[in-house]
């Protein structure tokens, strides 16, 4: 699928940088010419500058509420600043060729004022202007982040989720998202948490987009992803991988078996390997923990060397997933990569409605808001 990628705020910029950097293959999912990073600041920040060769824009640089560190105020102010700068923002969006993409993915750090404020306005703006689906990759704050960020995230979800065509969540509690530094400088190659995010997002959106590679029997095409995400709401992604022999070895194996020697691995092992990998992806750490039985639709992509893509294993894995999620809307696709030495499974759970992490954030947010209300009058000097 051809995606336009937009990153908001410092974390959003870093995420865009990591996704672009991690993507070394030829797939079209994310291209630099279709990426934009955007932050509220006085002047271009280090994080904006850290993403090379993409469109970047600074908003609010003329606003009195914007300081060198960003916005000095809540998400309402961030939203207001964004609205004020919409004409300029629109011009920048024009250079990203969104109408030529199959969808837009906006990375929104929900626990920040910029993320939930600017994100909300930008997603609505994209929806009004373009007729491609607008997806949000929303990053949730960790437990260590202050309660204010929980409040921002809980409120941001209420705006972003209804506005977006689907919101994929990535829980900051599960991965370390603090900016990695080498010699005091931000270094995207060591930004482990966001690298993990990229590892999940790339195979999901790039399946079926390998020009010149072997064509899948059941390719996952952008329409499959769009249909899976169509119910809206919140989505979560599971991932698992295993190292295998690339296909060149498989060929020698086949030659050996023709010459009468036994192949190194019986094929039933391949079937078990594929099934267990799908189970690992679904039962392991998801980008946001959720009850997968609350899923409305799911998509599973199996990629790796064609000789490892066991039909029986994938079929029974798909069946298992249908039983496990209690939904019949499951699309399954293969993504053969002859030269790869990794067998990878990515599972997308669309419209999951039981997400304990969101409940927890809401509780913290309500408590924080109550504190605000009781502090409010006494802390007001006037």
């Amino acid at each position: 699928m051809k995606l336009a990628l937009i990153g908001i705020g410092g974390l959003g910029c870093r995420a865009v940088g990591c996704i672009l950097d991690e993507q070394t293959d030829t797939q079209r999912a994310f291209a630099r010419e279709n990426a934009l990073v955007c932050d509220i600041a006085r002047a271009p920040t280090d994080e904006l500058e850290a993403v090379p060769d993409v469109e970047r824009t600074v908003i609010g640089d003329t606003s009195p509420h914007v300081t060198g560190d960003g916005i000095d105020g809540g998400p309402e102010l961030a939203a207001q600043v964004t609205r004020n700068d919409l004409p300029e923002l629109r011009r920048t969006l024009d250079s990203v060729a969104i109408h030529e993409s199959d969808a837009v993915l906006v990375v929104v750090p929900l626990g920040t004022a910029t993320g939930s404020g600017t994100g909300s306005v930008l997603v609505s703006e994209l929806q009004e202007t373009y007729d491609v689906p607008v997806y949000v990759l929303g990053v949730l704050p960790a437990d260590d982040d202050d309660d204010e960020s929980a409040l921002l995230a809980a409120r941001g979800l209420r705006t972003v989720v209804p506005a977006a065509d689907s919101t994929l969540l990535f829980d900051g509690e599960l991965w370390d998202l603090t900016p990695a530094e080498t010699d005091g400088e931000y270094d995207e190659t060591t930004d482990e948490g966001l690298r993990e995010l990229a590892t999940r997002v790339i195979p999901l959106f790039s399946a079926g987009e390998r020009d010149g590679h072997r064509v899948a029997e059941n390719a996952v095409d952008s329409s499959d992803i769009i249909r899976t995400l169509d119910p809206g709401g919140v989505a979560s992604v599971g991932y698992a991988s295993a190292t295998v022999e690339p296909d060149t070895r498989g060929l020698i194996g086949r030659l050996l078996s023709w010459l009468g020697s036994t192949p190194d691995t019986p094929e039933s092992t391949d079937a078990a390997k594929v099934k267990s990998l799908v189970q690992q992806a679904a039962n392991g750490r998801l980008t946001v923990s959720c009850d997968i039985t609350s899923t409305e639709r799911a998509l599973v992509v199996l990629s790796g060397p064609p000789s490892e893509l066991s039909r029986r294993g994938f079929e029974s894995a798909r069946q298992w997933l249908e039983d496990e999620t209690d939904t019949v809307e499951i699309l399954a696709g293969d993504d053969p990569r002859p030269r790869s030495s990794t067998l990878e499974v990515v599972v997308l759970f669309s419209n999951v409605t039981t997400v304990p992490r969101i409940d927890a954030l809401q509780s913290r947010a309500v408590a924080r808001q109550r504190d605000h209300a009781s502090d409010g009058p006494s802390s007001d000097p006037h």
């Binding site: 998400p75 306005v121 066991s310 039909r311």
Partner: protein, 391 residues
């Protein structure tokens, strides 16, 4: 007979491609016109034998497809084909209909493009031409899940009512075991292609000077005339090459009787094996309305006695007197094969199973859709609705 063959969707196009492969390998010339129609650009790049200019991408300007398929949704598949109906008709203008006896539409019923687009394509063909339009439909296996079953159950109704005959292929019955995804589909499609082509290529020349037992296209059309759902049985055995036969005769210097008992037994045995083999769509043979059997191979291996006793056996087995059996002489063939068409076979348990699975799926989908908005709203709203949206 001579066919215009049209593959719709991914499965349909791949099967048509394998039919062309089988034809070229066995010196047949069944498909005089071919077309692949699909909503996904990547899938249209796959065929090896379908010429580039016979591949039609539909729905590429449609917001729901954009050349990237229809996401396995039968309704979007139908909508996309309907919107591009003029383009589809234009493609069919090229069919030199006087050169073909019938039209065959091949499609998978579990996905979106074939199951939804197939019936639209068939409607167009039925309107444009008087020749019979048949379909070969691939039914999804149980393991493929509820959504494909629902697509197939709905699509099957459209197919069967619109075509002159529907030949079924059941993925469940042909499910491969220890194979990769790629090999599995290849093998299934090749098995199916050999059955279809062996059966339908009989009488492709309709020459008057061939043996009187030869099958011709009117026999095939007559058998398929019942409508309904049909199935194909198949068996083949290799024969020694003409060269060896010649040397045999040279060395022993005696003419082999052309119609000896063993040859008759062989033909009858082959027909029995074909009927008792795994059918393209398993079902009760005795529930078939009409039966057609094609014996294909080197004429020296044919046996009139064998054909006669095979006919008697078929009449009993299928419990019908409407049995046509004939041969399809292929001088250089290395195999003697029998393809049996069981037309309008009414007892096919697999279709009932798919319908049951589809009903369950439809209920589940409706139940989820009914609470969708409410559940999303619950998820993003705190218990007492204390938190306000940002904007």
């Amino acid at each position: 007979m001579k066919l215009a063959t049209i593959g719709v969707g991914n499965a349909g196009s791949k099967i048509v491609d394998r039919m062309l492969e089988f034809e070229s390998k066995t010196d047949r010339n069944l498909c005089r016109h071919v077309h692949a129609i699909n909503t996904a650009r990547t899938d249209l790049a796959k065929p090896d034998y379908i010429p580039e200019d016979r591949r039609l991408l539909i729905g590429d300007t449609n917001q729901k497809a954009k050349g990237h398929g229809v996401g396995g949704d039968v309704e979007v598949g139908a909508e996309v084909a309907q919107k591009d109906i003029d383009e589809i008709r234009r493609a069919f203008d090229d069919i030199e209909i006087h050169q073909v006896d019938a039209i065959l539409v091949v499609a998978g019923l579990g996905g979106g493009s074939g199951s939804g687009g197939g019936p639209v394509v068939i409607d167009a063909l039925q309107q444009m031409y008087d020749e019979p339009v048949y379909a070969l439909g691939v039914l999804p296996g149980k393991y493929e899940g509820g959504r494909p079953a629902l697509n197939a159950a709905r699509s099957l109704q459209s197919f069967v009512t619109k075509v002159d005959n529907f030949i079924g292929f059941d993925n469940d019955a042909w499910r491969a075991r220890e194979q990769t995804i790629e090999e599995g589909y290849e093998q299934m499609n090749r098995e199916l292609a050999s059955r279809l082509v062996t059966l339908l290529a009989a009488g492709e020349t309709d020459d008057s000077d061939v043996a009187e037992n030869a099958m011709d296209s009117s026999d095939i059309i007559r058998t398929l005339d019942t409508g309904g759902v049909s199935s194909i049985g198949y068996a083949a055995t290799s024969v020694e090459t003409a060269n060896e036969g010649f040397l045999d005769r040279w060395s022993s210097d005696q003419e082999e009787p052309r119609d000896d008992g063993s040859q008759a037994t062989k033909i009858k045995g082959l027909v029995r094996r074909a009927v008792n083999s795994r059918l393209t769509l398993p079902g009760e043979v005795s529930s078939a309305d009409r039966v057609l059997a094609v014996i294909s191979g080197p004429p020296s291996k044919f046996s009139r006695k064998g054909i006669e006793s095979a006919r008697q056996w078929l009449e009993q087995e299928a419990d019908t007197v409407e049995v046509l059996i004939g041969d399809d002489p292929r001088e250089n063939a290395s195999r003697l094969s029998a393809a049996i068409l069981l037309s309008n076979m009414t007892e096919t348990p697999r279709i009932k199973e798919i319908q049951d699975q589809a009903v369950d799926a439809q209920e589940k989908i409706a139940a989820q859709e009914a609470v969708r908005e409410e559940e999303i709203d619950d998820l993003i709203t705190d218990d007492n609705n204390d938190l306000d949206p940002v904007v």
